[in-house]
Symmetry: C2
Subunit: 448 residues, 2 copies
């Protein structure tokens, strides 16, 4: 098991030595950043990008250069989407206050949100970030089960609070993990011969973790996982791949927390939520990033009986969580996804992208695998297809080459060898050949 | 030591039995809320308020009734302030993205923010909520000192994450506290004969806590406190009151975290930050609520050498933290505080309010104490002035009477006996007699 995802710990970050090559303006910004914000802030690229404007899946830098954005799942319905901008403006002009007064919109939105999910997921708590949603989920699950031990995947990132960091194995090179945490390998659909085999290996790993938890007396809280295994390397697999593992958790009295911060809100195209691809009914769902198209809003949705022991025992107050402006943003996002048919669009664009990338692989043997669902694609670079040895150096070099060609993205996976192609849902058909050409040129320039 | 602040745990909350008295519209909202959001969500008042519009220090409900808002410190420069609304609208129309690309505005704002503080406070990390800021602060302080034990005051509330809840003694009726936490009583300037005596008692309590930590081997991390002791009952005291206690913490190698979520951003009138009243230089400052006038933004500001061990050891990423829209809101708030002279205004209005309330006390012997700084006033209700026994029932009844007279506020302190008068800084001179008359009428109606 590899731990400490280089993407999260370091990855394609700017290094101090890169400063010399920058123009004065950007060197000054980089230096001010380091001085004022400190070392925990990482910056993408040797040659960092200064974005100042965005629209749809495109963004512009301070010099007026235009970029294709294949990285940002937060401005999900498109950068600066006017429906969200207008909704926020309208509500901000009226009122922005907390949830200790009544407000109808928060309830309308909550009803609308749960209507996209299996009926058992009935209750919603609003927070501001994915980290807050997962912090809450881990405590709610512990309170309900009485267990303390969570199972998570080896490169998972679930957020930045103390509790959540301690359950994010991708940070284990830097953070102490929770003593009760059990770490399992994700279902690597590329290295196992089939999705079935990957799913079976995942179930076996979860079974072993449960047995270990039961032996230890820690008590099983449950499994927390992103069903698209985003930071693990993007393993969407066949529909149903992880259902057995989740059944096992349930059979042993644990809960399943579906961290939908990345796959949620129509990204996978086939379904509105990533977990639906596997026919699951989670006990708790968390979401964040795309929920407000960049406005800070996130949520935890839970089965009533799972939330109740937590919520009846204590008050919970989140100053900004569920405020009417955040709700206006979130409602506009949901309405836009439906009104513009972005779920079907994500399916169509995603398939087109993977088909084109698979064709490209014929000419570039270092492309080991192209996988994903909807607008979430992982393209893995390898030393050779026989050994499937991940090629970190090539992946990081490709990122920089793509950036030179004004295509923005990042990497994931235990070796940072997987290009993470995760554009706004608003990407257009013309953007697909642009990506393919840029990647073709980048690989060619690198002799790969 | 009393624990479990009824204000936070229950306080002036709506109870199920109150539903019968509501009109159909509000009863339906209350029922939908309970059903959909669950029991952890608390609602103010027997007769909950449904606010739909705000301006300055005033708000309107769905029936068009106007209220004087003496509770909300979040819309600090005034509900729906056009400068903030416009700044957010402008930036949202351009771009909203994360901090892994360069953006000048976040650095300009960070520079501006630290310019309001002692020079030693040099580095800023942006988050979305006060809870996230404190979660980070507690870990930064532990990493720097190597100690694990924090000292906090007996009714303090510092936020809602797992780590921060476990350091919020006001939740101790519902949450397990951190095993290493030491709880001290706040400097109760009302029950001690003088601010000096209260400060000395506070120092003695801190000294005892430090000695206990040193005996135990837990290692001292430091003291986390809101220098206006907001949820403890509002004890602003004389300038310098808590300086000795903080010196003690420093002398024993601990850090001082000033939780400025409530007193910060000019509220105390005399100074921009609450800790400045006591001539302190904290090691870490956290802020939130008023920072973006309701837009979710918060920050942790630290001395460079205190942050460095944490920030060089790990990356920290907060998806929405410090995004250009949040920064636009925060910059507009800072500019408005300066442009409209709101700090001096807070001082003047606050003095006028306390003077008028002290005059009112002549006619109402159950007013035991009127205290505060700037636009942060605590008015304590007692059974009689001799014993100073807190009168919880009267305070809660006054809240409801004030609400009937369309004046919104809340209570704090270990017995919920202290009216918390904390209006937007944008309150006007005419609002002061309105409060005083409403309170006069309320006390008279209650035979007090
Ligand atoms: C899967 C997943 N969960 C949770 C989070 C945390 O979200 P936030 O940064 O909003 O706290 C992230 C952020 O990258 C994420 O990718
Ligand atoms: C003193 C203090 N600190 C921290 C917090 C937490 O802030 P937030 O609700 O934004 O997480 C609060 C909120 O009430 C507070 O009053």
């Amino acid at each position: 098991m590899t731990t400490g995802n280089a993407s999260i710990l370091d990855g394609n970050s700017f290094k101090a030595a890169d400063a010399a090559a920058l123009d004065d303006r950007r060197r000054a910004l980089v230096e001010r950043r380091q001085h004022r914000l400190g070392a925990a802030y990482r910056l993408f690229y040797r040659d960092p990008v200064e974005l100042v404007r965005g629209r749809g899946a495109h963004a512009w830098d301070a010099d007026g250069n235009e970029y294709l954005d294949l990285y940002n799942n937060v401005p999900s319905v498109g950068h600066a989407h006017p429906a969200v901008v207008d909704a926020v403006h309208r509500q901000m002009s009226l009122l922005n206050t907390h949830t200790r007064y009544l407000h109808g919109a928060v309830l309308d939105y909550a009803d609308d949100l749960v209507s996209t999910m299996p009926a058992a997921l009935e209750q919603v708590m609003f927070v501001c970030t994915g980290s807050e949603a997962n912090d809450l989920a881990l405590r709610v699950g512990r309170e309900y089960t009485g267990g303390r031990a969570w199972i998570a995947t080896s490169e998972a990132y679930h957020g930045n609070t103390a509790l959540v960091s301690a359950h994010s194995p991708s940070l284990s090179g830097a953070e102490a993990m929770d003593p009760a945490l059990r770490v399992v390998d994700p279902p690597d659909t590329y290295r196992y011969v089939s999705s079935e085999a990957a799913g079976a290996a995942f179930s076996a790993a979860v079974a072993e973790a449960i047995a270990d938890i039961e032996r230890s007396g820690d008590g099983l809280a449950g499994l927390i996982a992103d069903s698209s295994f985003s930071s693990d390397g993007i393993y969407t697999g066949e529909r149903g791949m992880i259902a057995d593992a989740v059944d096992l958790v349930h059979a042993h009295g644990g809960v399943f927390v579906a961290d939908e911060v990345q796959p949620g809100f129509a990204r996978t195209g086939e379904d509105f939520w990533g977990f639906q691809r596997h026919g699951l009914v989670p006990d708790i769902v968390t979401t964040g990033k795309p929920m407000g198209n960049g406005f800070p809003i996130a949520a935890m949705i839970a089965r009533r009986e799972v939330l109740e022991p937590f919520s009846t025992a204590r008050p919970y107050f989140n100053t900004f969580g569920g405020n009417p402006v955040a709700i206006a943003a979130a409602q506009a996002v949901l309405d836009t996804i439906r009104g513009e048919g972005l779920q079907a669009h994500a399916l169509e664009m995603g398939e087109a992208m993977r088909t084109a990338l698979r064709d490209l692989a014929d000419a570039h043997p270092r492309i080991g695998d192209v996988r994903g669902a909807g607008l979430y694609t992982g393209l893995e670079l390898v030393e050779d297809r026989e050994t499937k040895a991940p090629d970190t150096a090539l992946a990081l070099a490709v990122l920089e080459e793509l950036r030179e060609r004004r295509v923005l993205t990042s990497v994931c996976g235990p070796s940072n060898s997987v290009l993470k192609l995760r554009p706004p849902l608003a990407i257009s058909a013309a953007d697909v050949p642009r990506l393919v050409d840029a990647l073709d040129d980048s690989l060619t320039a690198l002799g790969a």
